[in-house]
């Protein structure tokens, strides 16, 4: 099992090398600009002069979306071991997970009723 992780690590290292390799190749191949100018490095705002910083404040609904995502992920994380032993443990495991999911879906229903996920 750990050897599989090592293989995965080696795989990731190879992908990293590819990413760096492309950047390196580009450095070698790149045609140098004859002159550099400040305007070239302006951020793109459809040709207008950039106005202020790009940082802006975002709406709280982003937070609700992320919240929902992690909570459903938690659900999934507990359902993975459950899925493996479902056949073995039978009805008891089934009922336990169903009640788990149903309780979580109550939260979903609440959020739906409160329209907290409304992207409007």
């Amino acid at each position: 099992m750990q050897s599989a992780w090592l293989s995965a690590l080696a795989f990731l290292v190879v992908s990293t090398l590819l990413g760096l390799g492309v950047l390196g190749a580009a450095k070698a191949l790149r045609v140098r600009a004859r002159k550099d100018s400040r305007i070239k490095h302006l951020t793109y705002e459809c040709g207008e002069q950039p106005d202020g910083l790009a940082w802006m404040q975002f709406h709280a609904r982003y937070y609700v979306v992320a919240l929902f995502f992690v909570l459903f992920d938690v659900e999934a994380v507990f359902l993975f071991p459950w899925a493996v032993v479902l056949r073995e443990l039978g009805a008891q495991a089934f009922i336990a997970a169903v009640s788990f999911v149903v309780v979580l879906m109550l939260g979903w229903f609440y959020v739906l009723r409160k329209e907290a996920l409304q992207w409007q």
Binding site: M1, A4, L6, S7, A8, L9, A10, F11, L12, V14, S15, T16, L18, G19, V22, L23, A25, A26, K27, L29, R30, R32, A33, R38, H41, L42, T43, Y44, E45, C46, L53, A54, M56, F58, Y62, V65, A66, F68, F69, F72, D73, A76, L79, F80, A83, V84, L86, R87, G90, A91, F94, V98, V101, M105, W108, L112, L117, Q118, W119, Q120
Partner: protein, 326 residues
Amino acid sequence: MSALGHGALYGAVLIAVMLSTVAVGIWFERKFAGRMQSRLGPTIVGPMGLLQPLADVVKLLQKEDIIPAGADRALFNLAPVLATIFSLGVAAVLPLSPHMIAADLDIGVVYMLAVGGLMVVPTFMAGWASNNKFALLGGMRAVAQSISYGVPLVLAVLVPVILSGSLSLAGIVRWQSEHHWFALWPVIPGLPAFALYFMAMLAEANRIPFDIPEAESELVAGVTTEYTGAKFTLFYLAEYVHTLVGSAIGAALFFGGWDGPFAPGLHWMVAKTLALFVVVYWVRWTLLRLRSDQLMELCWKWLTPIGVALVLIAAAWVQFAPQGAL
């Protein structure tokens, strides 16, 4: 050491194969898209325009590398490399044939979801580091979309996991080759779960109809607005690889992966992957982009509860289906 060598070798070969597939895929997409719009597509570079992707790459690599003023340089440079790593890294657990798998993790499904989910990091990083309003908006939207559709994705993936009782992708495929493809039987959690997976995969890879983050008409190019040359190439590559690997995983989870008569397993796996890959482009060049609110509503009001229902149906199937029906 041998495990490291195994992973590195498979990584090198698989990545080379994927890159050439992506190159041909780009050509194919442009040709196919052209045909669907009653155009010819690329014709000039090479026979039937086959060398067009090569020309594109050479062109892109020669471009001047511009970092916008006020950008967070370190993160700006790191983001495309991370995108490459995470999109390619998912392929480590891909079972190509019964004995061809780079890293046979016993929790392959979790690894795949986790590493695929990490794609939000470079996306946001690029958007944030560019110091550009379009990029930041695109990045935030991309992350919001990606995590939203992560929920149906996880739920859809849970269905084959429950039906086979295994978290290893190879184990799931083996189960299917011994019993049935999950897309075919049991039809009710199987086929809708595949549809769910497919939609979520499109959304994760920012493919039309879920390409809000890129939304050319409103956000220029989303997170890649400020990227030029090689770094843009990496993002572009990551997007294609994401789609390709997503197709391969869909083929493995729902269509029996390497399983098939007459031909060796590898051929079947490749054929199924490419078939799904083509469907992605077919959808891409047919449908229109959804609006942000439609996207979110579709995900949270429809796909999520459907996914939960499918998970429960799959569990009930495992519990209550007569032994003969399995």
